[in-house]
Amino acid sequence: MNTAAKAGIVIAAFMLLVAILSPLLAPWDKVQRQDLNARLDRPTMDHLMGRDQLGRDVLARIIYGSRISMLVGISVVAISSILGLALGAFSGYRGGWPDKLVSGFVFNVFLSFPGILLAIAMVAFLGPSIRNLIVALSAIGWVSYARLMRAQVLKVRELDFITAARALGASDFRIMTRHLLPNSIQPLIVQASLGMAGAILAEAGLSFLGLGVPEPIPSWGKMIDDSREFWFTAPHLFIFPGIMIALAVLSFNFIGDGLREKLDPKQRAR
């Protein structure tokens, strides 16, 4: 693993830890406590990231926000990878018309227009909530896993050990879960890491547009949007959430790139 990927792992692990411990680090009443006398206060020793437009502690809201980012990121990766794996494996393994329909038509439709637009459309009509956000982002996320899985299955399907397993009478389901999946898992891990970065960025973007988590839950993207009137008088209100989003996205991208390089010797040579 290269240095960047190692740094990515450290940052991502730290963020996950903060997200898990957030109820202790930033209890809900601290996240919500307003102090209108201390509106827009710059960072001080007591409030390391300052206070927002309602006098709430920015650090506490950032910590709580990490929970939303990680929750959405992990859920989207989990749902879309399972969905993608199942459909990709089925399509590649079965071949024939189901494969033509999935890989020839469904994939193309999903790849034919920008994912974020579809996510915006879905949340716009479903209504903003964490659940709908996860549904929308999973609905656009599964395609890349499915394509990857299908390609892997097509590659592995004809290998001798699969033929051997089939000759021994193994069922399709057993071959898929016991043989195809373990042999295709590596590129999927790379994709999951990049997918995590994408989901965190998309969550922040949708929340910035007012299509993410509803009031009063803090999310990094929404914190930037909420402080829009104060960007230039109190820049800490957009700088800290912005740095957090960039760090989270960067670290998962680093991990993904590092893993890909490690798994693919051809890339390393370049």
Binding site: F113, P114, L126, L211, I239, A246
Partner: protein
């Protein structure tokens, strides 16, 4: 001689099912609204008559299949629906806002190309050095930094502190600079990496050795020979990414209060103007599909290696 025409025809034929699916998905959107969208829109206190009127306005009073056929008919007739209150036509609102978005996307594209080619070439010719690592770092930052954090930062530095550019708006010509940089940053990062790897690949080719053996200065080898061939993948990505810029503009427009289709879309969502939301999404998605197809066709014509197939 018929070959290329057949290829074009096949490619165009392939777009039709995709466009059909896009329209169908957009049509279905209103049916994923939880509960009754007409009730939602008319409000709690609406009379039965008002409710019926809203329902008819949305076309929800007819069977699903009829609604679907009417939707298609409307699209072809240029009747994309209207605002239930103001009666403003969806299509005219979209067409009055779309040019600003196209303008912004083109400016962002221009910015990305101007930045990424010299950066990518320098990174490739200085492979493994500090310059190379720096350009990779800048590229990664460009991808990871969200536009809604980069945008305010640029405004803070260039408009508020230095007073060089307008904070937001559309009136002055200079207004486009910061939105274009914000929107183009991610693309310039992606392009830099592609230019770099593409140039690196070409540098290993025989013709480069020949050109060098002829005694051509390195500058000429790079800019006259290598870049020409190395640009083919770059052109493809530029075409494919133009649609991504249109989608990215939704966020950038909100940052800078840019009066394009993106901010129209966001406004339509908060006003729950369903027809307008559907129209905006359809317009962006259709442009995306068509630009991608056009890129693909142009690419086929310009690269002889592809035309032969």
């Amino acid at each position: 001689m018929l070959g290329p025409f057949l290829a074009v025809a096949r490619r165009l034929l392939f777009v039709l099912p995709v466009l059909w699916a896009v329209v169908t998905l957009v049509f279905l959107l209103i049916h994923i609204v939880p509960g009754d969208p007409a009730r939602e829109l008319a409000g709690e206190n609406a009379s039965q008559q008002q409710y019926e009127a809203v329902r008819a306005d949305l076309g929800l009073d007819k069977p699903l299949l009829t609604q679907y056929l009417n939707y298609w008919k409307g699209l072809f007739r240029g009747d994309w629906g209207q605002n239930p209150v103001t009666k403003q036509k969806v299509l005219s609102r979209i067409s009055s806002r779309y040019p600003a978005t196209i303008e912004l996307a083109l400016a962002a594209l221009f910015f990305a190309i101007v930045i990424s080619i010299p950066l990518g070439v320098t990174a490739a010719t200085h492979k493994g050095t500090l310059i190379d690592s720096l350009s990779t770092l800048v590229a990664l930052l460009g991808i990871s930094l969200p536009s809604f954090a980069l945008g305010p930062m640029l405004i803070l530095i260039f408009s508020v502190q230095l007073g060089l550019t307008p904070v937001s708006g559309y009136r002055e010509a200079a207004s486009i600079i910061l939105p274009a940089i914000t929107l183009g940053a991610a693309l310039s990062a992606i392009l830099t990496r592609i230019v770099r790897s593409s140039v690196l690949e070409e540098l290993g080719e025989d013709y480069v050795r020949t050109a060098r053996a002829k005694g051509l200065p390195e500058r000429q080898v790079i800019y006259k020979h290598v870049l020409k061939n190395g640009m083919i993948p770059v052109i493809t990505i530029v075409g494919l990414q133009f649609g991504v810029l249109l989608a990215g503009a939704i966020i950038t427009e909100r940052v800078f209060s840019w009066p394009g289709i993106g901010s129209l879309l966001v406004d339509s969502i908060s006003e729950r103007d369903y027809k307008l939301t559907q129209g905006c999404i359809l317009a962006i998605a259709a442009t995306y599909v068509l630009v991608n197809t056009a890129t693909d066709l142009v690419y086929r014509f310009f690269d002889p290696r592809i035309k032969l197939r």
